[in-house]
Symmetry: C2
Subunit: 230 residues, 2 copies
DNA sequence: CCCACTTTGTGCGTGCTTTCACAAGCACGT
DNA sequence: ACGTGCTTGTGAAAGCACGCACAAAGTGGG
C-alpha cells in the first residue's frame, strides 16, 4: 500500500479563491455598468468586501492581468474571470421539484446573469406536471434521463422534499449529470467525480443564532468580524 | 506536556465547527426519529458526511459528552448541540421582500424545525402589502422599526432585489437587528458587531461550473473530492 | 479482579488560507 | 532620459483546519 503523491497542485486554483471569484465578477460588472474602465485592487477589494492583499493574490492565480501603478482594466478582468469560471460557455440547468422554492428559482430572472440557462423543470406530482412555469412546461420526473440527454443538461438542481432528494440525485448521476446543487436538507451520497454543493437556509439561521447568542452572553467580541460580505 | 490545566473551554468554538454543528444536529434528529438511543462517532460521521475524527474533535469543543467504548447518547447530544447553537431559545425572524423568494421562504414549513419563528413579512409594493401570506399579513416596509420592536425581531432576512438590499440592511441595523441573512446578490456594508450571512444561488452555480469545466478540460482529478456533503 | 474489546478525546504533522510588507514595474511629467 | 509616485505581485510568517494514529477510559465476560 504505497501512499502515492497527493500532490494535485497542477493548475490548481485554491478552492477559497474559486469561491470568491464570482464575488469579484459581480463587483466588476457593477463598476462596468457605472462606466469605470480601470480599478485598483484596493477599490475592487472594497467593493467585494475583502482584504486587498487577498484580492491580489487571488487574481495572481489567474495570471498577471494588472498594470502596476494603474490597476486592473475592468473589461479585461471580467473576461478573464468569466473564462476561468467557465462562464464563456453555456450551462444547461434542470430543476427538479417545482414547489415553493422550485417555482421561485424558475422565475428568477437574473439567474446567473450569464451562462446559465434553465432547460427543464421536473416534478412528480400529477397536479404540477404539465403546467407552465416561467414559460417552461413542467415535465414528469420519469423523463429525467431523456431530458438530460436531449437538452444537454449539465447541472442539476434539487428542490424536492428531503426524502426524495437522494433518489433524484442518484438519477441525475445515473443520467450523467456531475454537478448538483441541492436545496434539500439532507446529506447526499454520490460517487467520486460528482460535485455536490448545498444551499441550506436552516443551517445559515442556526449559525446566525449561535453568534447572536454568543454576543448576548459574554459580550466579548468573540464573533468573527461583524463586517461580513455578500 | 501538561496534561490537565483547568482549561474552561468556553471561548471560541472554531467557525468551521460551528458550521457543521447544524448538520450533526439534523443527523441526530433523524437517528432519534428512527428510535436510536446511542450512536458512535463513526456512524454519526457517516450520516453527516464527514470524517469521524473531525466529528469527535468538533464535539470535543462542546465538552466530553461521549462514553468511551459506547458512543454518544443521541438525546443528550441533541440537547447539548441545540443549547450551544442557541436553539433552546426562540428567535423571531422578519422577512423583507415578499416576492418569489420571500413567499417561498414564508411558506417553508420546516423552517428551522426548531427555534425559529417567522414573526413578520414586509414589502414596499402596495400590491403586496396587506395580502396574507402563510397566515401572516404583509406589512409595509415603513413599519419595520415598529415591527422589530413589538415582535422582538432578532434576525432579519433580506429577499428584496439587489438595489434595495443595502437600504433594508441599514434599517435593520438601525432598528437594532444584529443578525442578517441576505439573499440579494450584493455585498452589504454593516457596522462592526452586526453579523451578515449570505445565500447566493448564482455563486454556487458558478463554482459548480468552474469544477465542471475543470473536469472536462484536463480531466486530471484536479477538483477537490467529488464526494461532497450536504 | 482481570482481561479483551470498543470507542472516545487529542497530540501532532501536513497543507491550506490569510495577512503583512516590500521590491519590482509601469505611467507620467519634466 | 530619468526621477517620482503609485500599485501590483509575491516571499515569508502566522494562523487554521484536517485527519492519522494512539493512549486513555469505559464496558462486559469469565
Ligand atoms: N421553501 C423554502 O423557502 C425552502 C427553504 C430552504 C430549504 N427548502 C428545501 O427545499 C425543498 C423544497 O422546498 P419547497 O418549499 O419548495 O417544498 P414543496 O413541497 O413546496 O415542493 C416540493 C416539490 O417537489 C416535488 N417532488 C416530491 N418528490 C419528488 C420526486 N421524487 N421527484 C420530483 N419531484 C418531487 C413535489 O411534487 C413538490 O412539487 C425542501 O427540501 C425544503 O426543505 C425550502
Ligand atoms: N427567486 C430566486 O430563486 C432567487 C434566487 C437567488 C437569489 N434571489 C435574490 O433574491 C432577491 C429576491 O428575489 P425574488 O425573485 O423574490 O424577487 P421579486 O422581484 O420577486 O421580489 C422582490 C420583492 O421585494 C420587494 N421590494 C423591493 N424593494 C423593496 C424595499 N425597499 N423594501 C421592501 N420590499 C421591497 C418587491 O416589492 C418584491 O415584492 C433578489 O435579490 C434576487 O436576486 C432570488
Amino acid at each position: 500500500m504505497t501512499t502515492r503523491p497527493p500532490r494535485p497542485r497542477e493548475r490548481g486554483i485554491p478552492e477559497a479563491t474559486v469561491a470568491r471569484l464570482p464575488v469579484y465578477l459581480r463587483a466588476l460588472q457593477a463598476l462596468q455598468d457605472r462606466g469605470t474602465a480601470t480599478v485598483s485592487s484596493e477599490a475592487l477589494a472594497g467593493a467585494a468586501g475583502v482584504n486587498s492583499a487577498k484580492l491580489r493574490k487571488d487574481l495572481s492565480h489567474l495570471g498577471s492581468y494588472g498594470t502596476r501603478g494603474v490597476g486592473y482594466e475592468v473589461e479585461y478582468l471580467i473576461y478573464q474571470i468569466s473564462r476561468e469560471l467557465g462562464l464563456t460557455q453555456d450551462w444547461s440547468v434542470a430543476i427538479v421539484g417545482i414547489g415553493n422554492l422550485g417555482r421561485a428559482l424558475a422565475n428568477y430572472g437574473g439567474f446567473g446573469t450569464r451562462g446559465f440557462r434553465i432547460a427543464a423543470l421536473l416534478d412528480a406530482d400529477p397536479e404540477v406536471v404539465g403546467r407552465s412555469v416561467a414559460s417552461l412546461d413542467v415535465r414528469h420526473i420519469d423523463s429525467l434521463e431523456e431530458v438530460v440527454r436531449t437538452k444537454g443538461v449539465s447541472i442539476g438542481v434539487i428542490a424536492t422534499p428531503a426524502g426524495s432528494a437522494q433518489g433524484v440525485a442518484s438519477r441525475f448521476v445515473e443520467a450523467g449529470v456531475t454537478s448538483i446543487l441541492n436545496f434539500a436538507p439532507v446529506v447526499l451520497n454520490v460517487p467520486d467525480g460528482v460535485d455536490v454543493r448545498k444551499v441550506d437556509l436552516s443551517i445559515e439561521l442556526q449559525i446566525l443564532a449561535f453568534h447572536a447568542q454568543r454576543r448576548a452572553d459574554g459580550d466579548g467580541q468573540t464573533h468573527r468580524s461583524g463586517l461580513e460580505v455578500t
